[in-house]
């Protein structure tokens, strides 16, 4: 009895020294086994791309069986059109094997349609061959796949088993998580910049024979995808056209852009544009002059969308006639930019 115990001890120690986990424990005859899914959230539809290398291969009439855990469920009507098989070449699949065509059938194994069996007709997979099997909408050969497999309802590590050619077997783990997605968000606040420079311009003494002009500038920029509008108008008791405060005015040109005609009483402006996406608006967008005081506040410039800084140059023009009353004439226009958010 003492001798038997000594032998038993030696054998146990020997087994301890060599029983180191080997890969073959998880994949007997299969190597490079993996499953690339599209989703790993519980109860969520997912595609699968299962890849492995088979030591023995598959003979004519042989099978490849992939079994998902019992809480995975194939969608109703999932069939061979939802499967692609590649082994050196893309293999033709159908509901049943026929010569070179492989049969692909989903069956029940503990749950509904969670087992895929591929059955060869005369086709084979060579020993040492790599096989890629796609299941779901990623199966695009022939009729495109439109059915997938729903992940387990419970979370944790799930084991998929593979049997290849009746000889090679293997398992792989897929993680089913409470959530496999991260939602990120951020806000870009609305932005609208606007400024008028050269706020005071002086024409000096107006002439009967020569055009008198002077310019002011304004800038605008926005990150609104609907852009902005700039209006020209007056504020309070300000006057829209040149006025001497004694009841005399220099006539505003009006809504129709008109060329400058020295000797004719005219007051108007035109707008030039540089940079950004902004543009002058009719009637101020031509080489001629206008001042549609009847339409005040009148849109004189705008941007249709996001725009870096646009510089607008407003060229004011004044002409007088022989019967224009003497005096000091002034006008004041108020520009307002409005973002369209």
């Amino acid at each position: 009895m003492r001798k038997f115990l000594i032998i038993l001890t030696i054998l146990s120690i020997f087994s301890m020294s060599v029983a180191v986990l080997m890969d073959s424990v998880q994949a007997a005859g299969l190597s490079a086994v993996k499953d690339t899914m599209t989703r790993q959230k519980a109860s969520t539809l997912s595609n699968h791309t299962i890849q492995f290398t088979t030591t023995t291969g598959v003979a004519a009439g042989g099978t490849i069986v992939i079994t998902f855990p019992s809480d995975f469920i194939g969608e109703a009507d999932i069939d061979f059109t939802d499967v692609d098989m590649y082994a050196v070449t893309e293999r033709t699949l159908a509901a049943a094997p026929n010569v070179a065509t492989w049969g692909a059938v989903f069956s029940d194994s503990g749950s509904t349609r969670n087992r895929l069996t591929l059955t060869s007709g005369t086709g084979t997979v060579v020993a040492g061959g790599t096989v890629i099997i796609e299941i779901g909408t990623n199966a695009t050969e022939g009729v495109a796949g439109n059915k997938q497999i729903t992940n387990a309802t419970t979370t944790g590590s799930k084991t998929v088993t593979l049997s290849v050619g009746g000889t090679d077997t293997g398992t792989l783990a897929i993680p089913i998580a409470t959530e496999d997605q991260v939602s990120s968000s951020g806000t870009v606040d609305p932005y609208l910049a606007f400024n008028v420079t050269d706020a005071t311009i002086a024409f000096g003494t107006l002439s009967l024979t020569a055009i008198t002009t002077n310019t002011a500038e304004m800038t605008a920029a926005t990150n609104s995808t609907s852009g902005y509008n700039i209006t020209i108008g007056i504020n309070g008791a300000d006057t829209a056209t040149l006025d001497d405060g004694a009841g005399h005015t220099i006539t505003a040109i009006g809504a129709v852009a008109t060329a400058s005609i020295p000797g004719t009483e005219q007051y108007g402006m035109k707008i030039g544009v540089a940079g950004g996406s902004g543009a002058a608006v009719a009637p101020y967008a031509t080489a001629d002059y206008a001042l549609d005081t009847a339409a005040f506040p009148d849109i004189c410039a705008s941007s249709a969308g996001v725009s870096i800084t646009t510089t607008y140059t407003m060229t004011y023009m004044a002409n007088i006639a022989t019967n224009t009353e003497p005096g000091t004439y002034t006008a004041r226009h108020t520009y307002i930019a409005t973002g369209n958010f």
């Binding site: 038993l8 029983a19 599209t38 398992t171 991260v182 968000s185 951020g186 870009v188």
Partner: protein, 209 residues
């Protein structure tokens, strides 16, 4: 021990043990081995005893699952983190990958259904983290086994909606391997359109067997 059809390379003679089963479980057990159990180092795992757990294991958790970058600024880079934790008993390890979902017809990235904050880079191409004031959106990853291209979080990548982008990987078993994914975004002075933007990133882990 062997037969005509199989070989058990390293069998053992013990004092007891049996195969048991019922309608809902199967059990193989033995009794009498002197030294059993599992030990491991950074590079090796030793499972002692004749009967071993041959069930592959792979788990993934993500927390948090929402990242709010707040109001994006031209003066700073907005950041937000999520941590992905993976455990695996595969001796070949795992690969962690990600992609951005298509949203309202826009392929990927931080979008509002019509507009998007510009990708930091071509998806899959690592570049140094852009400075504040440069419109960009992307991720960087840190962790012991983060993909090397991120260079400890100093480089950024953008995600694709058709091709998985590598986040990290490990070549052997591991418990609680953490990857910190940092979302980064900034905007240009005025060319970044005003809107509320969002993105959805899907992560998967692939065990290697």
């Amino acid at each position: 021990m062997d037969s005509a059809t199989y070989t058990v390379p390293n069998d053992v003679l013990n004092s007891s043990g049996q195969y048991s089963s019922s309608a809902t479980y199967k059990l193989w057990d033995n009794l009498g081995e002197f030294v059993t159990g599992e030990s491991s180092s950074a590079t090796y795992k030793n499972q002692q005893g004749f009967l071993q757990n041959d069930i592959p294991y792979l788990s993934m958790s993500i927390l948090p699952t929402t990242v709010n970058l707040g109001t994006l600024s031209t003066l700073s880079v907005s950041t937000g983190n999520t941590v992905i934790t993976i455990s695996s008993n595969s001796l070949q390890g795992f690969a962690l990958k990600a992609y951005d979902n298509t949203s309202a017809g826009i392929a990927n990235g931080l979008v509002d259904g019509v507009k998007k904050v510009a990708d930091a880079t071509t998806p899959g191409v690592y570049i140094a983290n852009p400075a504040a004031g440069t419109e960009h959106y992307g991720i960087t990853v840190t962790g012991t086994h983060a993909a090397a291209g991120y260079v400890g979080g100093t480089k950024i990548n953008s995600l694709d909606d058709t091709t998985w982008v590598d986040i990290g990987s490990h070549s052997t078993f591991v418990t609680g391997d953490a990857f910190t994914v940092q979302y980064r975004a900034s905007i240009n002075s005025i060319s970044s359109a005003s809107a509320n933007y969002s993105a959805t990133t899907t992560f998967i882990v692939i065990g290697n067997y």
